[in-house]
Symmetry: C2
Subunit: 202 residues, 2 copies
DNA sequence: GGATTGACATACGAGATGTATGCCAATATC
DNA sequence: GATATTGGCATACATCTCGTATGTCAATCC
């Protein structure tokens, strides 16, 4: 327990706070999460939180960064597994919608964080997962599979459509049925961005 | 000052509170708006607010309903003025993006209210303006100008794309340029929903 | 091995919300 | 027309949360 014990302990408390905050924010929401409560749950106090993250918003930023990086990793893994570029692109977007249905992601990334931190496109993480999606669009364009669109604009429009769709699905009376409708419409939308000469459905 | 003076006075204070809340929410945001402050600005106290709206959230709901109805009215007026159904549909959506750029609408309808009240599609107002847009899609579909899509899904996807685009534009370094890019991409998206046999650009 | 740093806890003050209570004018009743 | 009553709104109070200032003790450094 000597040598790096100081740094290790610090990293551990930081991680504990991050996890406690993430759990609280992801369940009861940012506004309703009392710093006293969830730090105590982690066996710590607000003192530690202010030391590591500056304030409540700072902790949220750290949580967002963590989740964002997890999301982009998952997306990358999915598009890499696909048999073709276009298929990978479609898979990735469908996966994005599905991820957006997860309560923690829904609540933190799509509901609370935009309200507290402002427009996601301005976050320091610069929305890693949006950029991952744009990258794939760029590749498809280079390969001539995509109609002539501004890929950043397309990525943002599709992202907006996806996240709203996910929110809609998540709060629908019948999420299963709603999801099917949304995904079908979404595939149609993606297909409309494909160059006709590549015919055939993804 | 007799007769209906009681009811009139009440309606007046209600309106004052609504206006004061709307102004505060629309500028500094919901969370940072102190009820003591903005009620005082209206020459009232929180007592009146609790009497009329139950709580802070209740006032926000009322504000949202007011704005939502104003928005759908404006949209309707725009689509009615257009020379053709399809043109009206396009005009309406472009107008929707432009409205979404207005700071008050941006802040209240797209940033704060979803965080506080949850998914807009579940709001009591049922998002009047979204429904107005869906109605137009339905009409275009009936007239055979629209490809075979689920119009509610389409309305929600396009709505998601629009509102995100607006948020992106509003917080961009160069809103003018960003707006041009976004609107161009958006037109392309709408055009892709049009039945090919109707050729020609909107 | 003592000085110092710094990770974290504790103590305190400043709002903000929600509720309970009180007051006064407008309406209803006789 | 005078009294009773309702209810719109203000005032007072309790509670909770955040942020800062301060304290403490162990780990690191010389």
């Amino acid at each position: 327990m000597v040598g790096k014990s100081r740094k290790e302990a610090m990293a551990e408390t930081r991680q504990k706070l991050l996890a406690a905050g993430r759990k609280a924010f992801g369940t009861i929401g940012y506004a309703a999460s009392s710093m006293d409560d969830f730090t105590a749950e982690a066996g710590l106090t607000r003192g530690a939180l202010y030391h590591h993250f500056g304030d409540k918003e700072g902790l949220l930023r750290a949580v967002v960064e963590e989740i964002d990086s997890e999301m982009s990793e998952r997306l990358l893994a999915i598009s890499m597994k696909a048999p073709s570029r276009w298929q990978g692109l479609v898979d990735e977007w469908i996966a994005y919608i599905e991820m957006a249905l997860e309560p923690e992601i829904q609540r933190i990334m799509f509901r609370d964080a935009p309200a507290v931190l402002g427009d996601p496109s301005q976050w320091p993480s610069a929305n890693a997962c949006i950029m991952a999606l744009k990258t794939n669009l760029d590749a498809a364009k280079t390969e001539g599979q995509l109609i002539d669109v501004d890929t950043e604009v397309a990525a943002r429009l599709i992202n907006g459509a996806s996240s709203h769709a996910a929110t809609w699905i998540a709060s629908a009376d019948d999420p299963e049925a709603t999801s099917k409708r949304a995904v079908a419409g979404f595939r149609l939308l993606l297909e409309s961005l494909r160059k006709p000469d590549h015919g055939g459905t993804a």
